[in-house]
């Protein structure tokens, strides 16, 4: 797993993809901080983190689109699959490398807060809650993205598919207000409602388990998908 992780992680920085993702998010974070803190002169920092996490979703499809589609297109998967490693190692290596970039980009969001902390007392509980929520949300989305990437040789389709799923999961919340079973199920599925508890500075174990389960399920499905290709 470590060999695959190292290679994938490095490759994000040999092509500019890694730099651009981190830089774009850091710039966006800076901009929103400036807007809210200075122009609106509010000290309610939680609202900043609550809105900008959606921008983090922008980079997820970019990070995951190449994971398996590129390998299959360039036939480099033959090197991976004929090496004495388990499929689980390959999938986890790729998942964690994409997640590492995402985590770096997310943690960059702490920079403005650290700068502000020199001048004011910040609600760290809410900030940390938001960061943990964003990481979990992102991890779940990345596992879905990696899975979609394993379904196709086209990076564009992988990216668009992941983007569509992430938008749907973002807005499915709107259906939660409907009464009856649909509302209950949607509320249970909705990533956003799971995420919301973290934004209030609460560490909610059920939501945490929910996101971790999503990651486990989609990593598992990816492994099965890669395995099944050998049989066709």
């Amino acid at each position: 797993m470590s060999a695959v992780f190292k290679r994938e992680f490095k490759s994000f920085f040999t092509s500019p993809v890694g730099y651009v993702c981190v830089a774009a998010l850091t710039a966006l974070y800076g901009f929103f901080f400036y807007q809210v803190m200075v122009m609106g002169s509010t000290s309610y920092i939680g609202s900043v983190y609550y809105t900008i996490f959606t921008y983090g979703m922008m980079i997820v499809p970019i990070l995951t689109m190449r994971t398996f589609s590129e390998d299959r297109k360039n036939k480099t998967d033959q090197a991976l699959l004929t090496a004495p490693v388990n499929v689980s190692g390959i999938v986890m290596g790729k998942f964690f490398s994409a997640f590492a970039i995402y985590a770096i980009a997310t943690l960059m969001g702490l920079l403005p807060a650290l700068a502000l902390s020199a001048f004011a007392v910040l609600p760290w509980g809410i900030i940390i809650g938001n960061i943990i929520g964003t990481l979990l949300y992102g991890g779940a989305m990345i596992s879905i993205g990696v899975f979609i990437s394993s379904l196709t040789v086209s990076q564009v389709i992988a990216a668009l598919g992941t983007f569509a799923v992430s938008l749907m999961l973002l807005f499915i919340e709107n259906l939660a207000s409907s009464s009856g079973i649909v509302g209950t199920v949607v509320k249970w599925i909705s990533f956003t409602s799971r995420y919301n508890t973290f934004t209030q500075g609460l560490f909610d174990i059920t939501s945490c388990v929910y996101f971790l389960s999503i990651m486990a399920i989609f990593c598992f499905l990816t492994m099965r998908k890669i395995e099944s290709r050998r049989w066709n």
């Binding site: 470590s2 060999a3 695959v4 190292k6 290679r7 490095k10 490759s11 040999t14 092509s15 360039n74 036939k75 480099t76 998967d77 033959q78 090197a79 991976l80 699959l81 004929t82 090496a83 004495p84 490693v85 388990n86 050998r230 049989w231 066709n232």
Partner: protein, 329 residues
């Protein structure tokens, strides 16, 4: 060493491999020959566990690929049809990655240097693979297969797309590798297989149709054993004298090719060799022999016959015995 038994592979309704069996002994260079789409790559992909067989088993050094896939993979160095190279890495980074991936236990720096020396890529080690020429990429692919000194090397069309000089270099390289490794290579280029391999397996439409050395294949497939000779002698006496030789069945004269020189074809009983008797008779009579060749088919002709389905060198009943014979050679 490598034993493949009753291998069958179906892609949906498409039968890619049909009950293929063979054994390969240690230290041989075996050529896999067949037209495009015959099932060469499929076989190689199954032996390296990239694909799974629909039926049948693969055993490498006594280890079954289904039971101990990772153990078998450690024994095999594989160069797929398209070398699995990450174009954004340098040669050194790539080999270092493959070294880690294959969990090689040798000294990393010296082993990678050694492999680069063997494949002659030391001077491009620091370059990005994407910027290398096809020949060098192929070498990097071979270098990758050599990492960890696996006892078995499987090379899928290693010389495809190379220029003639590179082809000769890669062939020499493979021949040298054959001294230390068991090598299976596939090709649809006959002279290549003939030049490099000790044993040839011909595969067509998913079936193994021949197995043996190049000479044996050519010999066995020629239905008749004729000699074509040019002899300086009077025509009628010559034909009479030749017909009088022991074991000669038929003599046909093709006419005068040079002044006073006649070309004749001499057909002998199957399995007999009359060349010495022929020479003795001609010297006794003082008739100089100017050329002599036999009509064994060239490998090209063998190949065409095999893939046209005119001939099969293995029939399913006596398959084992023929394969054993092939293995001994």
């Amino acid at each position: 060493m490598i034993e493949v038994k009753n291998l069958t592979k179906r892609y949906g309704n498409n039968l890619a491999l049909d009950n293929v069996s063979f054994k390969i002994e240690e230290g041989t260079v075996v050529g896999f020959l067949g037209p495009n789409g015959a099932g060469k790559s499929t076989t190689m992909n199954i032996v390296t566990d990239y694909l799974s067989a629909t039926e049948g088993s693969v055993t490498v050094m006594g280890k079954n690929i289904l039971e101990e896939p990772n153990e078998v993979k450690k024994l095999i160095g594989f160069l797929p049809e398209l070398p699995p190279l990450y174009l954004d890495m340098t040669v050194e980074e790539y080999l270092s990655f493959m070294y880690d991936l294959k969990k090689v236990k040798l000294n990393k720096v010296s082993h990678i240097n050694e492999v680069c020396e063997i494949t002659k890529i030391t001077d491009v080690k620091g370059r990005i693979i994407g910027n290398l020429s096809k020949g060098y990429r192929q070498r990097v692919g071979i270098a990758q297969a050599l990492l960890g000194n696996p006892p078995v090397l499987i090379l899928d069309e290693p010389t495809v797309g190379l220029d003639p000089k590179q082809i000769i270099e890669i062939r020499t390289l493979i021949k040298n590798l054959g001294k230390k490794h068991t090598v299976i290579l596939s090709s649809h280029i006959l002279p290549e297989v003939q030049a490099v391999c000790e044993r040839i397996l011909v595969i067509n439409k998913g079936k193994l149709v021949a197995d043996g050395t190049a000479d044996r294949l050519a010999h066995d497939l020629s239905s008749e054993h004729k000699l074509i000779a040019r002899i300086e002698a009077p025509e009628k006496e010559l034909v009479m004298a030749l017909k009088a030789l022991a074991r000669v069945i038929d003599v046909v004269c093709y006419g005068e090719k040079e002044p006073g020189v006649f070309e004749v074809s001499i057909e002998a009983t199957p399995g007999s060799d009359i060349r010495r008797d022929l020479f003795a008779m001609l010297t006794r009579r003082g008739w100089p022999i100017l050329s002599l060749r036999n009509t064994d088919l060239t490998l090209e002709e063998v190949f065409i016959q095999l893939i046209n389905g005119d001939a099969v060198l293995i029939n399913q009943d006596s398959e084992d015995s023929i394969i054993e014979k092939g293995a001994e050679e």
